[in-house]
């Protein structure tokens, strides 16, 4: 039975496919409820009820929306570049979901535990801009094109500061592997002060400015309000999505929300200790790590939807100023400071 085609290739491939399907299904259901939560939070801030008709408390709203999108007629504008027009949503949703292959949900729960995990995430999320550019260009219309141009410039600008934030974390960890990043947060500032392992060890405390910059850059990178200029409805109707309808539109939305969740879980892994419990006592250790992971992701997402609810939209030149003149210098200086501190204290 050893070394047959089955045991070398077919079985691992089957296992991998099963794992991917599991993650995919869980992720899609999670996204459905994240969307619902986003609308509910937004509604609550504005003293509205939000979705409350489909199912108890409106819990099935997202699934109703899904059915509506799927059964509607996809309209392709006659002037559109058909191939690219239909490829764009596919590209954006595929890339947004592909990144999840390397995200560690728990100590051993990761589909592909690759050496360069964080680079892979960074690379794939830098490709996500193509879905938007292609959608905007292929629509052959003014608003989508303007939206695509804005989005491309915005995402490229904020990737720079995200990159430097990741570099500071990498300096502290000394590995590009995402699981190693969480392991590195078992001990930190808290244990150095003689406290037991707790949330004080996580990277958010020593790298607090970077944590804030990452949070804000994440908003800009995923085109969330207050940086949703690519789809600013008062200026561009719906930006690059104007010409899309039914299933292709749903895929663009899905890609966007998958990317948002990805940034949330990346924040969790880089700064909030991934699956680690907040305090090292037996009753919290007994809770499975995936629960802590999800709680942290949801907390970050709650921050994102609160920001959406009460921060007014930025002007485009202010957005660029913030990215290039504020975040880039701060994160560059922090890289240098972190490197010096690590070297001089002998921690690296």
């Amino acid at each position: 039975m050893e070394d047959t085609f089955f045991s070398i290739y077919a079985w691992p491939a089957l296992v991998m496919i099963a794992q991917s399907l599991l993650v995919l299904v869980c992720l899609l259901v999670f996204i459905a409820y994240i969307l619902y939560a986003d609308r509910k939070v937004w509604a609550a801030v504005q003293l509205r009820r939000g979705p409350n008709v489909v199912g108890p408390w409106g819990l099935f709203q997202s699934f109703a929306d899904l059915l509506k999108f799927v059964f509607k007629e996809p309209i392709i504008p006659s002037g559109a570049n058909k191939g690219v027009f239909l490829l764009a949503p596919l590209v954006s949703v595929t890339l947004a979901l592909a990144t999840w292959a390397v995200i560690p949900f728990n100590e051993t729960w990761v589909i592909a535990n690759i050496n360069v995990g964080i680079l892979y995430v960074f690379a794939i999320s830098s490709l996500e801009v193509y879905g938007i550019i292609m959608a905007g260009w292929a629509s052959n219309s003014k608003y989508p094109f303007l939206g695509a141009l804005r989005s491309a410039a915005q995402m490229v600008s904020y990737e720079v500061s995200i990159g430097f934030v990741i570099v500071t974390v990498l300096l502290c960890v000394g590995s590009l592997n995402l699981s190693d990043m969480v392991f590195a947060q078992r001990e930190g500032l808290g244990t150095m002060m003689g406290l037991p392992n707790s949330f004080l060890d996580w990277h958010w405390l020593p790298l607090f400015p970077m944590f804030i910059i990452f949070f804000i850059s994440g908003l800009a990178e995923t085109n969330r309000p207050p940086f949703d200029l690519p789809e600013a409805e008062s200026e561009l109707v719906a930006g690059y999505m104007v010409e899309y309808s039914s299933a292709p539109y749903m895929m663009l939305m899905l890609g966007e929300y998958a990317a948002i969740l990805l940034i949330c879980s990346l924040t969790t892994i880089l700064f909030l200790g991934g699956w680690l419990p907040p305090v090292d006592i037996w009753i919290l250790n007994w809770v499975p790590g995936i629960v802590w992971f999800i709680i942290k992701v949801v907390l970050i997402f709650f921050g994102y939807s609160m920001v959406k609810a009460f921060v007014p939209r930025y002007r485009y030149d202010q957005l660029m100023r913030l990215g290039w003149k504020v975040f880039l210098p701060i994160s560059l200086i922090m890289v240098i400071i972190t490197a010096f501190v690590l070297k001089l204290m002998g921690w690296a």
Binding site: N81, I114, V116, F122, A123, I124, V129, W137, E159
Partner: protein, 204 residues
């Protein structure tokens, strides 16, 4: 002939085919999209050889940044491809000549390492065992420890080029309104508002 070979031929075939499409596509934007596909497959080939760091950097730098700017420019320009095509025969000899030179150089390099395998071992920085040290760390050793001065000089050259480009294109226009946020914030009623007592029946 394992799975590796299958993936190698897959990536290689798609890369060559889309490289051909880059030069034969009618629409320039399609050309750039095919170029991106070429980069993507090249990253796949890097992965197969075990150079995962290079593969990811190729994705981040070339596809994530360079090709985006490329696509920008091509989308903005209104290129008439029929007009460009008309000169193909005129430029063909030069193109073929350059292609031949590159092919000859590649043959010399690859042929050299095939004919004298011991030459590969004579290089100054031998490739360490990937099981002991990841190739990310090895690249770091080479760039930041052994050749740090050359790396710094390269960075300096790029900095000078960047400053040069900015100086050449920066045009400081007069008579336009610029927002100065610190000045706006620092404004107080005393500096912004002038209270004038106007006598009734008279203007200011």
């Amino acid at each position: 002939m394992g799975l590796q070979a299958v993936f190698f031929y897959l990536f290689a075939f798609v890369a060559v085919a889309s490289a051909f499409m880059v030069i034969s596509a009618r629409n320039p934007v399609h050309s750039v999209l095919f170029l991106i596909l070429v980069f993507f497959n090249a990253a796949g080939l890097f992965l197969l050889t075990g150079a995962e760091f290079l593969a990811m950097i190729l994705l981040v730098v070339y596809i994530g940044a360079v090709a985006v700017l490329f696509l920008f420019v091509v989308m903005m320009l209104d290129i008439d491809f029929a007009e460009l095509r008309s000169g193909v025969l005129q430029y063909a000899p030069v193109g073929i000549l350059i292609g031949l030179i590159v092919a000859a150089e590649l043959i010399v390099v690859i042929g050299g390492s095939v004919l004298t395998p011991q030459a590969a071992r004579a290089i100054t920085m031998p490739i360490p065992n990937p099981a002991v040290r990841t190739n990310t760390a090895v690249l770091g050793d080479v760039l930041y420890t052994h050749y740090v001065y050359f790396f710094q000089i390269a960075g300096l050259v790029l900095l000078v080029a960047m400053i040069g480009a900015i100086v050449l294109t920066l045009r400081h226009r007069q008579n336009i309104k610029r927002q100065d946020i610190s000045r706006q914030v620092a404004r107080s009623p005393e500096t912004a508002v002038e209270v004038v007592k106007v006598k009734s029946g008279q203007g200011i």
